[in-house]
């Protein structure tokens, strides 16, 4: 699994799937839908985010709906990893299922700010600022989930099982 090095976009607690993927655009294609990601609380996010950027959040990130589009929008915008104090169960499953890396890490919301350059090591489960001022140890994902991520998502797993 590759490491991620990128710029931080920081969000608060309880960021819901309605913010990540508003219901009004529920059946729009991803190219349209992703432009509305988090627009209610961060209008410039979708236009200014760059490939490789990292989302840092507080507790219960991705709470709410089962909509996989919440994770898919972030991946389509180029987010390399979501690092949060805690993740909603559905967001966590969906992120892994579509191949968007996630990391649970206590203290991450306090330690980092918008625009910080950080490096994430998913295997070790660590996040550190580029200047090494902060270095936090998170909880690496269980092997079962990392295998799905490494395959690129659960559809890839399905296809490899079919071929196997």
């Amino acid at each position: 699994m590759s490491d991620a090095l990128g710029r931080v976009w920081k969000f608060d607690h309880d960021i819901s799937t309605d913010l990540l993927s508003p219901g009004t655009y529920a059946v729009d294609p991803v190219e349209v839908r992703m432009l509305h990601t988090l627009e209610s609380i961060s209008p410039s996010f979708a236009s200014e985010v760059r490939a490789g950027d990292i989302v840092i959040a507080g507790r219960n990130f991705g709470c709410g709906s089962s909509r996989e589009t919440a994770a898919e929008n972030l991946k389509a915008l180029g987010i390399a990893c979501v690092v949060a104090e805690s993740l909603s169960r559905l967001f966590m499953r969906n992120a892994v299922a579509i191949g968007l890396p996630v990391l649970l890490c206590a203290g991450v919301h306090e330690a980092f700010n918008d625009g910080d350059e950080v490096a994430v090591d998913l295997t070790a489960g660590t996040i550190a600022s580029a200047d090494e001022a902060h270095h936090l140890q998170g909880e690496p994902l269980p092997t079962e989930m990392r295998e799905i991520l490494a395959a690129g998502g659960i559809i890839s797993v399905l296809q490899s099982q079919t071929e196997g």
């Binding site: 219960n60 996989e68 499953r93 998502g153 079919t162």
Partner: protein, 421 residues
């Protein structure tokens, strides 16, 4: 060591004698639910993997309920794709637009039995724990995997048990109970956990109330929200000619926590914007004028909910400047509510009746809000932008409180209005 309800059901689904919290298992799915927001993409993706069939057409239920009736040409085109998929894949249980909301139809039409493992592409799939099914939401990619294989990986969850005591006061409902639990334990108070309900107060919770509680348990982060299978369950299933056996946790099961909850002193509860756990008693809300009152959703759109609201609204008028919209949870609910005069009472009071579906609740269509508007509803989420404008405010409450507020034109305590059938 005994097993919790979640452990018992997961063990059976995984073909094991027993499993323990924390284990990863691959389990057989007894029922897979998809609704119209995701069905077309699930079946498109399934076919893209080269498959022309689902794992078992008799274990799949497809419901068109979110975009009902189709509010746009795009939505109509999505529905058209779904109908073609359903036909080509020979799926037996298909409920087209107008039949009702998926979480009402599954129990109402007898698809749910105690002990089942159920997955759905909807977060509120936890609803079916009311009938002792380990039921939970998954995303579309995982549903493609399920449709192909009939299996999915799970981590057996730790269980938190809620022992319910006492008796609800007049004007207080089980919606108030689950709102209270959300406020008390927080929106991640049961994250990754199975919630298991027990205690002497359960005998007072009819199936409609249990469905409300299990539905909204998801808002505490729950993976499953399980009631035991008891005489209430057996009566509900008997009406559908389904035999039921008792199913409960072992007395010596291991819990992460056990909470004692006394219902006796509970007041009607309101969740304030913009979080489901931002809950206070209705008496502490203050003087807040409302623009819309919403009665419906998979949380509180059942016959019992409509009756409770009608009891408050009988021979009354909703306040000038308030719009009240009502969406019965299914055609069967609507038919019975018509027969009983419940719909007439609501319409006479000034309410508009919407088709059976999810429209306003998920912010899709029909009854959305302008900037600065305030809505009190019986649904399950009050997130920013949930019902249209991000500058609107959503308050969540019971059918009784919503009806009382519609009359008052401000958020009101139903105990101050006429109460109960």
């Amino acid at each position: 060591m005994g097993s919790t309800l979640a452990e018992k059901i997961m063990a059976k689904a995984a073909g094991r004698e027993s499993v323990s919290a924390g284990e990863f298992v691959v389990a057989d799915i007894d029922l897979a639910l998809v609704h119209d927001i995701f069905a077309a993409s699930v079946f498109d993706a399934l076919k893209e993997t080269g498959r022309a069939t689902v794992f078992d057409p008799d274990k799949v239920v497809v419901v068109i309920d979110h975009l009902v009736p189709a509010p746009s040409a795009e939505a109509a085109a999505v529905h058209d794709r779904i109908r073609k998929h359903v036909s080509e894949l020979d799926i037996g249980a298909f409920y087209d637009a107008g039949e009702g909301i998926c979480h009402q139809l599954l129990p109402e039409r007898g698809h749910i039995r105690p002990g089942m493992l159920v997955v759905g592409t909807d977060s509120h799939t936890t609803t079916h724990g009311a009938l002792t099914a380990a039921a939970t939401g998954i995303g579309t990619s995982e549903m493609v995997y399920v449709m192909a294989t009939g299996r999915l990986w799970f981590r057996v969850p730790e269980t938190i048990r809620y022992e319910l005591h006492g008796s609800l006061a007049l004007g207080v409902s089980w919606k108030d109970v689950i709102l209270h639990l959300a406020g008390r334990f927080g929106s991640d108070g049961a994250q990754y956990r199975a919630m298991e309900f027990g205690g002497p107060a359960l005998v007072e919770a009819d199936m409609s109330s249990r469905l409300t509680v299990s539905n909204m348990a998801l808002e505490l982060g729950a993976k499953f929200a399980l009631f035991p299978s008891d005489s209430v369950t057996a009566d509900y299933l008997a009406e559908r000619d389904i035999p039921a056996e008792p199913l409960d946790a072992d007395p010596n099961a291991s819990y992460e926590a056990v909470h004692q909850i006394d219902l006796t002193a509970l007041a009607p509860q309101v969740a304030l914007p913009h979080d489901v756990d931002n809950v206070i008693p209705v008496g502490e809300v203050g003087d807040l004028a409302i623009h819309q009152a919403f009665l419906g959703s998979c949380t509180n759109g059942r016959l019992e909910d409509l009756r409770a609201a009608a009891a408050v609204l009988k021979d009354r008028k909703i306040a000038p400047g308030v719009r009240m919209v009502v969406a019965p949870a299914s055609r069967a609910v609507l038919t019975q509510a018509l027969a009983e005069g419940v719909i007439a009472t609501l319409v006479d009071a000034g309410a508009s009746v919407l088709p059976s579906g999810c429209g306003p609740c998920f912010g899709g269509h029909s009854g959305l809000l302008a900037p600065g508007e305030r809505c009190i509803g019986t649904h399950n989420r009050n997130f920013i932008g949930r019902m249209g404008s991000p500058q609107a405010e959503i308050y969540l409450a019971s059918p009784e409180t919503v009806a009382a507020s519609a009359i008052a034109g401000r958020i009101a305590d139903p105990r101050e209005e006429v109460v109960h059938v």
